[in-house]
């Protein structure tokens, strides 16, 4: 266990980069914002933040030569957290913008809400129900509220990937987890105390694993 683990927030110009860094600082962790693959290679923990469009995200990760280092990092078994677009990017494919291949680290697709009777994006505070225990949600009550802003939702091929679920017109998995990977569709950095607890739990996990 390392007192000061090397925690990396992947810099690909995502709008919520600094908010993630601030939330980590608030729970007592200094994060390094970097686009350098060498930092990913030696990181104890990695967070992939994100807002915006899937095509943009994949293009920027590609331009910065980060797709392979991300795959290698995840394959290494060290703790990984994806946030919002950082969750969607993990799946095979997104329907956004006419279709976009994603990282394929988790099987499944990203689909559009496409409601007539409900507003899109799904914007605001909604409840997340835990489907099983996981260290990332430790100490946070099932049914807690988190802040969402998204028009597309994850539809994983394997239902066991779902760690938490949320209902907006339909019920979708709002937290995915497999082995060393966890990803949230909501923004923990904008979800008050419950969200900060997610970062604190992740930081604890990284510290222990380091």
């Amino acid at each position: 266990m390392a007192a000061n683990p090397f925690l990396v927030v992947v810099d690909y110009d995502a709008g919520n980069l600094r908010s993630v860094e601030r939330a980590l600082a608030h729970v007592g962790v200094d994060a390094t914002i970097t686009a350098d693959w060498a930092d990913l290679a030696r990181a104890d923990g990695v967070i992939l933040p994100g807002v915006g469009a899937a095509s943009d995200t994949m293009a920027k990760l590609g331009e910065r030569d980060l797709t392979e280092p991300l795959r290698e990092y995840v394959a290494s078994g060290r703790p990984f957290l994806g946030v919002c677009m950082g969750l969607q990017a993990l799946l095979d494919h997104s329907d956004e913008g006419g279709g976009q291949e994603c990282l394929g680290l988790l099987p499944g697709n990203v689909r559009h809400f496409g409601f007539d009777h409900l507003k899109v994006p799904h914007m605001g505070w909604n409840q997340v129900t835990w489907l099983r225990d996981h260290r990332i949600t430790s100490g946070i009550a099932s049914g807690s509220y988190f802040y969402f802003v998204h028009s597309f939702y994850p539809d994983p091929a394997d239902p066991d990937l779902a760690l938490g679920e949320t209902t907006y017109g339909l019920t979708f998995p709002s937290v995915l987890a497999r082995e060393n990977m966890v990803a949230t569709q909501f923004h923990p950095e904008k979800s008050g105390e419950a969200g900060l607890a997610i970062y604190a739990n992740f930081a604890e996990w990284v510290r222990e694993a380091a």
Binding site: H26, K119, V120, M123, G124, W125, G192
Partner: protein, 256 residues
């Protein structure tokens, strides 16, 4: 279930909250960061800072305020006022604001909505619409409600959403400041015209007014200033009252 949002609004001038805020708990009732923290603890779902005057002599103060708020408050917040270009937007977003609100600048240069949405995503572009009843409809006003534009407010709402606005902040100039309720017909017309969230503003005097805006007015969020700042109702009281009427609210965390 997605909750309706309660959003306190601060009028800020030179980095200070104006329009007399009276809170005995606060060391400095004019400090936006202190107020933001208080409202966050009270259960506010989001915060809005408006009329952030950004003339050259006080720009640094405003930047400090936005940055300090982002350091200490972990709920979404919007800043508006003096944002005229995508450079202004970028500055505010990089300092830590989650959304920027544009009003007169959008009317003067509608392409700003497209450019902002394209560069930063629709989720952070809020278009504020100030409107006043005229005949059967409503007319858009700019410059803090002083200048009529001749533009139909519902058509304008549709246009800015088409251009990429992710949310509308709709203020009725007729009801604003009277604390006698929001303009329900306008809110309803606006909300039915677009498929993005509508924040109701102007006229909140009681939780019942807010309930009306969220049900009959079909708004997704209600913004209020005076009733919170003067302590007429706390956010907790408002949320409890609205929950009691069956409106979905994010509960306020228990006090330690």
């Amino acid at each position: 279930m997605l909750t309706k949002r309660i959003i306190p609004c601060f009028d800020v001038d030179r980095g200070r909250v104006v329009k007399g805020v009276s809170f005995i708990e606060l060391r400095d009732a004019g400090d936006p960061v202190e107020l933001a923290k208080l409202y966050d603890a009270e259960g506010a779902d989001e915060l809005v800072f408006l009329d952030i005057t950004a003339s050259s002599d006080n720009r640094a103060t405003v930047y400090d305020m936005v940055s300090a708020t982002a350091d200490q408050v972990f709920i979404p917040f919007t800043v508006g006022g003096g944002i005229r270009t995508t450079v202004d937007m970028k500055t505010m977003l990089e300092l830590g604001a989650d959304k920027v609100s544009i009003n007169t600048a959008a009317v003067n240069n509608p392409d700003l909505v497209n450019e902002g949405a394209y560069r930063f995503g629709s989720q952070c572009i809020v278009v504020a619409i100030d409107a006043k009843g005229v005949g059967e409809g409503w007319e858009v006003y700019t410059h803090g409600g002083r200048t009529p534009t001749g533009i139909d407010a519902i058509a304008w709402a549709r246009e800015v959403v088409e251009r990429g606005a992710g949310e509308l902040l709709v203020t009725s100039m007729d009801t604003d400041g009277h604390q006698s309720g929001y303009d329900i017909p306008m809110l309803r017309a606006m909300s039915e015209a677009v498929n993005v969230p509508v924040i109701a503003s102007g006229g909140a005097g009681s939780p019942d007014h807010m309930a009306e805006a969220l049900t009959e007015g079909k708004a997704d969020a209600v913004l209020a200033a005076s009733i919170f700042h003067f302590g007429t109702y706390s956010i907790r009281e408002v949320k409890e009252a609205l929950s009691g009427q069956g409106i979905a609210m994010r509960p306020v965390a228990a006090r330690d």
